[in-house]
Subunit: 320 residues, 2 copies
């Protein structure tokens, strides 16, 4: 399978998750950052190349479905006799915070991503949340500088591998992290100051994900002033399982940029809305159950719901 011009390359885990919420539970459903990025992005672009590693416990039928949906799995290493990465977590009552109950690295323990030749010219790259050393190695394998590189990471790497993390942050275009991580990385409580600090580390754009409170996009304009955009999260009647929402956001976000073949601030604002829409679908069911069936029409309707959510009529100048 070859890559189209709008194709996305994503590195990230393909794994099993056991998920408990206050309202339900699922054992060993298919999950992982790469999986969610892939499902979300294939809702928008034709082809998404995945770079990952799995054990031979991963179901072949699942791999078939991913390929049928447009995922190029040439970069997914299959290790015979080994087990896939496994994560288990339990959500708190607020469905916005969780405890990790178990992490079994398995095949991930000594994973070294290898980007297949055909994928080394990808123009749109998503570096999912893995060891920043591995994220760097993916960038080193690219034949050409991609048009846009998005990096996801987490507090664990800030604590354990800050130098490597800063090295990869300096080489990407967009950093996506949550609000607590933005505060930790910058040492600033104010998100405005945190954003300014993180943009000084190199990236052109910063996305701060606030879960049920939406997502913020920041850039510095040519004069150095901070510009921002706020996409609130859609209100869902019921959040069934937020696992993978951030990765679905990333897949929708980068998918929209790839489809638009543009990296200006206006396109990135739209991308935040598309990403938020795809994240909201993922929350509606356990695992990838919902995101894998999302249609073009459903995405369009949800984007329209976002616009209505924040739309208000012009307000006349107060006459004091």
């Amino acid at each position: 399978m070859s890559l189209h011009g709008d194709s996305v390359l994503a590195v990230g885990t393909v794994a099993f998750d056991t998920i408990r919420t206050p309202f339900g539970a699922r054992e060993r459903v298919v999950g992982g950052a790469g999986t969610y990025v892939g499902w979300a992005a294939t809702r928008i672009v034709d082809s998404v190349g995945l770079v990952s590693v799995i054990g031979d416990d991963f179901p072949a039928s699942e791999l078939d479905e991913m390929q049928c949906a447009g995922m190029n799995l040439d970069g997914v290493e299959l290790r015979k006799g080994e087990k896939s990465f496994f994560w288990s977590g339990a959500y708190h009552m607020d469905m916005n915070t969780r405890d990790t109950l178990a992490t079994e690295l398995n095949v991930l323990a000594d994973f070294v991503p290898s980007v297949p030749k055909a994928l080394r010219f990808a123009k749109w790259v998503m570096l999912g949340n893995i060891d920043p050393k591995l994220q760097l190695s993916v960038l080193d394998q690219m034949e050409e500088r991609p048009k846009l590189i998005v990096l996801d990471t987490m507090n664990y790497w800030m604590d354990s591998a800050l130098d490597d993390l800063l090295a990869v942050i300096a080489r990407v275009d967009v950093v996506t992290i949550n609000d607590e991580e933005a505060r930790q990385l910058s040492g600033q409580h104010s998100l405005v100051r945190a954003a300014r600090h993180i943009l000084d580390l190199g990236p052109k754009y910063l996305v701060i994900k606030k879960g049920e409170h939406g997502a913020l996009l920041f850039q510095k304009d040519e004069a150095g002033a901070l510009e921002f955009f706020y996409a609130p999260a859609l209100l869902l009647e019921e959040v069934v399982d937020p696992t993978g929402a951030g990765d679905s956001f990333a897949g929708g976000f980068l998918g929209h940029i790839a489809r638009s073949n543009a990296t200006d601030f206006d396109t990135l604002k739209q991308a935040v809305v598309v990403g938020s829409a795809l994240a909201s679908f993922t929350c509606e069911a356990f695992g990838t159950e919902r995101i894998r069936t999302v249609s073009e029409r459903e995405i369009t309707d949800r984007i329209e719901a976002f616009r209505r959510l924040v739309d208000f009529a012009p307000i006349a100048v107060p006459a004091i």
Copy 2:
């Protein structure tokens, strides 16, 4: 002083606050829900009638300034030899949560609000956060049913006076509470379900205030379907003191409705934006320092900043 057609009547405390934040502190600054509602509303309408009670420790110069700004204080009872209500609180690092350090009821202990005759025809009424029995007594004193009644309350009254609270909720048009209080009052974690539950108690509209995460407006349409609007909070470089932000929101919110002389959903959406703008000013300094100097032009600029914050270009249908 008589009331104009667009005048607002507000019942709420006029008091002293001692405020500590991780970044600063102030001793005995002028505060209280009624004070903040009054300052915010007078930024937008000509006259705001206050119903409250103070001791003779309250500075006469402050009363003069409030009157000059357009507040009618005929309904503010002055008790000789007694002390004004006093509250002291300390904000946590997140500036979104706080601990109460002291509450001295003083004159508030046996306060019975008395609405002066000239104010009993007010069309726009704000029932600030006090004992629901007192809120009911204010409504009973009105000569005509106001065009719109807004109620603020807090978890304390849900715990200690739920029956009275439900009685007053059934008689108002808008309830404004924060997200945790909405969850407590409804017994529902999902804000969508909480909103449906609270609207079933009687009010036409519900505003859920989420502090730094903005505010939500809900109504049921004619078919019973829930409609909502989300005004994100403006991002401030620095939140100096959030005390009174919710009351400033209420003052701006009801002020806009009064000025517009309309109570439809589109007007209430605008009112949420105006309220959010005024709340953001209050957060920029301790006490009423900032809100009392806000100009017409500054409000207009901030409303424009709200529009820019959420504005994105139309997104073409995905071409899968």
